[in-house]
């Protein structure tokens, strides 16, 4: 058979091939390290531990949104509504806190609200058969509007000791080396990533997500409840958006009407920078955090280099394009 000859002809070039294969399948990590080195060399402040921790904190919201978004993109869908779900969760929690609820109740209700938006997305896409871009575009408009109506179109301050604690808590630092503690928010993000990555690898749900994204028909013929799994995935995405909403409520301390708008685009950018394919079935949750880190480390460096905020937005868009273009060209190189 030709199979054995395949292996034979590949043997001589194995070692350098392996390195190249590793680099091209971990291109996000390679890009991150290269950019990190470049930024470190061109700015002294960039490498300070406190600055790195700042990046962690700045990226936390998009990184958490990115977890759910990766799952949705893996099943071949997309969720444009995460920015609105996040806003809704944060807004409702803030409202409840203002009206005297305790923090656990406020958090629970906020999370449930965002999760319901996710469930609605799932039902619209899988139940009614509306394409995901359009359905989640509808909830993007609707969820933010609904939250704004509930909030009476006004800013709400979050003044709750629990939320404040989340925002300011750090691990003990190392005074002697002038290293500050790691922010609790960053730790929450990392823990969420580790848990989700493990779930994707070791649960039946995770396996089914990859099977559905890779070939929905084949998955269905193997008895996988495709619709239910997809609806569950959209719902999970809403849940993660709710968590992101809690983090943003804690860290900004005030819910203003356009909070989180546009974050869906940065989130998708982070997922794609992490190497997850929009066509579904291929990608890893844990690589999305790399994508998010690339995005926010670049923004951070631009701020340090005193590049005006407006230009940073333009540069970010072009950076995403460049990264994806390089990845595609590398893949093409490998294929030919």
């Amino acid at each position: 058979m030709s199979q054995s000859s395949t292996i034979d002809t590949m043997t001589p070039t194995r070692l350098p091939g392996q390195v190249r294969a590793w680099a091209s399948s971990n291109s996000a990590l390679v890009a991150m390290l290269l950019l990190f080195a470049f930024f470190g060399l061109t700015s002294q402040t960039f490498l300070l531990p406190n600055n790195i921790f700042n990046i962690f904190r700045q990226m936390s919201v998009v990184a958490v949104l990115g977890i759910g978004m990766t799952l949705v993109i893996l099943i071949g869908g997309i969720d444009l509504s995460v920015g609105s779900s996040l806003f809704m969760a944060a807004g409702i929690s803030a409202l409840l806190l203002r009206d005297g609820s305790t923090a656990p109740v406020a958090i629970l209700v906020g999370l449930v609200a965002a999760t319901l938006v996710g469930l609605l997305n799932g039902l619209l896409v899988e139940g009614a058969g509306i394409s995901p871009v359009i359905a989640t575009l509808g909830t993007l408009i609707g969820a933010r509007g609904l939250a704004l109506v509930l909030m009476d179109n006004a800013q709400i301050r979050v003044t709750d000791p629990f939320f404040d604690t989340i925002a300011v808590t750090r691990t003990p630092g190392i005074e002697a080396l002038n290293i500050p503690g790691i922010p609790l928010i960053a730790i929450i993000v990392f823990v969420l990533y580790i848990i989700t990555a493990l779930l994707m690898r070791h649960t039946i749900y995770g396996r089914m997500v990859y099977a559905i994204g890779g070939n929905q028909t084949a998955a269905r013929l193997c008895g996988i409840p495709v619709k239910r799994i997809k609806i569950l995935t959209y719902t999970l995405c809403g849940f993660y958006a709710g968590i992101a909403g809690m983090l943003i409520a804690a860290s900004t301390g005030v819910i203003s009407p356009n909070l989180g708008s546009g974050s869906e685009f940065y989130t998708i950018a982070a997922v794609v920078l992490g190497g997850t394919r929009l066509t579904g079935g291929i990608g890893r949750v844990e690589k999305t955090i790399i994508g998010a880190f690339i995005l926010f480390m670049t923004l951070n460096w631009m701020t340090i280099r005193r590049i005006p905020t407006e230009w940073q937005q333009a540069a970010t868009g072009l950076l995403v394009l460049a990264a994806i273009l390089i990845d595609r060209l590398a893949q093409r190189e490998r294929a030919s």
Partner: protein
């Protein structure tokens, strides 16, 4: 028989020393091939022998690593399909290349619409398309209908008309008769014979040796990317061709001797089953250890019936009993839970998740077997089961962690069968199990079917290939226009009677 003058006349097409590597694979190695005007030249070989690659090089889809292509004595290089088409190389691909949502006429003229300039002259387009189809003797196709709405066989004819309308001098047909019923095949044969007089060189790729014997002047056999031999068909027997193809003497193709159902217990009973408008009031039983063949003309309802039994169609009425108990098969999941498995001819679209590894594909229907702590997969047990199954099925792969997409077609087929064996259903439904599969792999599949039946599984085989149905079935059911026309015991069936029955003539 027309004497093949092709060997003496200067060939219209010559391909010399064609070599093509893909990463890690030598697809073609110094293959010579030639075709003369007015000849029908068969290109034969098992899957992966290099037929399609050779033709894709001729069509400009791939660039060869070495070798030259000479047309009319002049060396040519095709960088892309468009240039090849302009130089007179027309290819009818195996996977249809019609644009589903465009009309028949739009498809035929796609890329060179009538009207010059930027406008499209719709009336001319329609009348020209109708003229081309009628010239080919194709009737009953409305050129304004969307291609997607046509039956597969008509789509195939439109596809051929489209390629012919480019007036090619070299016409390549890649398994053109695969989706066609007898009648359309006959129509196509007549059409191709007619084309010979137009001084066109026709290259005909097929797995059906009977067609080749009837139609072709010469045949070139490829094996493992190398040229085996080019022969005159008139002076070669079918057996010789088959042997050249698989490289060894053909052993028993089908199982021999009577095989009887091991007992009379019906495992599946179907009563008055109707499926949409395609299947009407069909009743039958399948017993333990029995292989039941289900056949009919293309579109007689056999595929719909099989899919309904696997829960793929909701518009069903009637009663289905498993082991005597009435069951609702409203989804594949339900069907699987009731011990039914389905294998279709669509390996890549319905059988496998190509980016998942061999292990994950093997265990996909039986993930619940490896469940622990309610939601988790017991990786150790899963790996062990998958490796054992891969070994049992002789799947050739470097590791069970290799993506299944990197395997050859035959090995992919083994993975699909393996995943069902791992799930261990009582009833297996096969739809066209050997379509597009080479001779060697066919024999393996037939052997497996026999073994499964011997092990007490009940098997329903849906196929339009009468020889295949005759060769493997204990009983044969013939559908005609959605109704069960007749059931033959193995001893009472032969090719002629089946052929008459599928046309609706009760025997």
């Amino acid at each position: 028989m027309s004497a093949p003058r092709a060997t003496t006349a200067p060939p219209l097409l010559e391909m010399r020393g064609i070599t093509k590597h893909f990463p890690g694979v030598m697809a073609l190695s110094e293959v010579d091939f030639s075709a003369a005007a007015g000849e029908i030249h068969a290109l034969i070989g098992q899957n992966g022998a290099g037929k399609s690659t050779l033709m894709k090089i001729l069509a400009g889809v791939y660039q060869p690593n070495a070798g030259e292509i000479i047309i009319d004595g002049k060396p040519v290089r095709f960088q892309q399909p468009r240039t090849a088409l302009r130089s007179g190389v027309g290819v009818v691909y195996q996977d249809l290349s019609l644009v589903p949502q465009l009309s028949v006429a739009d498809n035929i003229f796609l890329g060179r619409e009538a009207g010059g300039g930027i406008l499209v002259d719709q009336p001319t387009l329609h009348s020209e398309a109708a003229r081309i189809l009628s010239e080919l003797g194709v009737s009953g196709v409305d050129v304004r209908r969307r291609a997607a709405d046509l039956p597969l066989a008509q789509q195939q004819l439109v596809e051929i008309a489209k390629v012919l309308s480019h007036k090619p001098r070299i016409l390549v047909l890649d398994e053109p008769t695969a989706p066609l019923a007898e009648e359309e095949t006959a129509l196509l044969m007549t059409l191709l014979r007619g084309l010979k007089s137009r001084a066109i060189a026709i290259i005909y790729i097929s797995h059906r040796f009977k067609e080749i014997m009837n139609l072709c002047d010469r045949a070139t056999v490829l094996r493992n990317g190398r040229l085996v031999k080019t022969v005159d068909v008139a002076s070669t027997t079918e057996m010789e061709l088959i042997e050249l193809t698989i490289g060894e003497r053909v052993e028993a193709f089908f199982r021999h001797g009577e095989h009887q159902a091991s007992d009379d217990t019906p495992v599946l009973e179907v009563e008055q089953l109707s499926v949409g408008r395609t299947v009407r009031d069909v009743s039958f039983q399948v017993r333990r250890g029995e292989i039941v063949g289900l056949t009919g003309l293309l579109g007689a309802g056999q595929n719909e019936l099989a899919r309904a039994l696997f829960g793929l169609t909701l518009e069903t009425s009637g009663v289905i009993r498993r082991d005597g108990k009435s069951v609702q098969l409203h989804s594949p999941k339900a069907a699987i839970q009731h011990g039914i498995g389905l294998l279709t001819e669509q390996r890549k679209t319905e059988g496998l998740v190509l980016n998942l590894d061999v292990r994950a594909n093997l265990t996909l229907p039986s993930l619940s077997f490896f469940r622990r702590w309610s939601a988790f997969i017991d990786n150790r047990r899963e790996n062990r089961a998958a490796s054992a199954m891969a070994e049992q099925m002789h799947v050739k792969t470097a590791s069970t962690h290799a993506p299944v997409g990197t395997l050859s077609g035959g090995n992919q087929q083994k993975v699909i069968l393996g995943k069902w064996l791992l799930r261990d259903p009582d009833i297996l439904i096969f739809i066209s199990p050997t379509q597009g599969i080479d001779v060697g792999a066919k024999a393996e599949i037939y052997a497996q079917l026999t073994n499964l039946a011997a092990a007490g599984k009940s098997i329903l085989v849906v196929s339009e290939d009468l020889i295949e149905i005759l060769g493997i079935s204990d009983r044969i059911m013939v559908l005609y226009q959605g109704a069960l026309l007749q059931t033959f015991a193995r001893a009472d069936a032969n090719e002629e009677r089946l052929l008459a029955a599928i046309q609706g003539n009760l025997q």
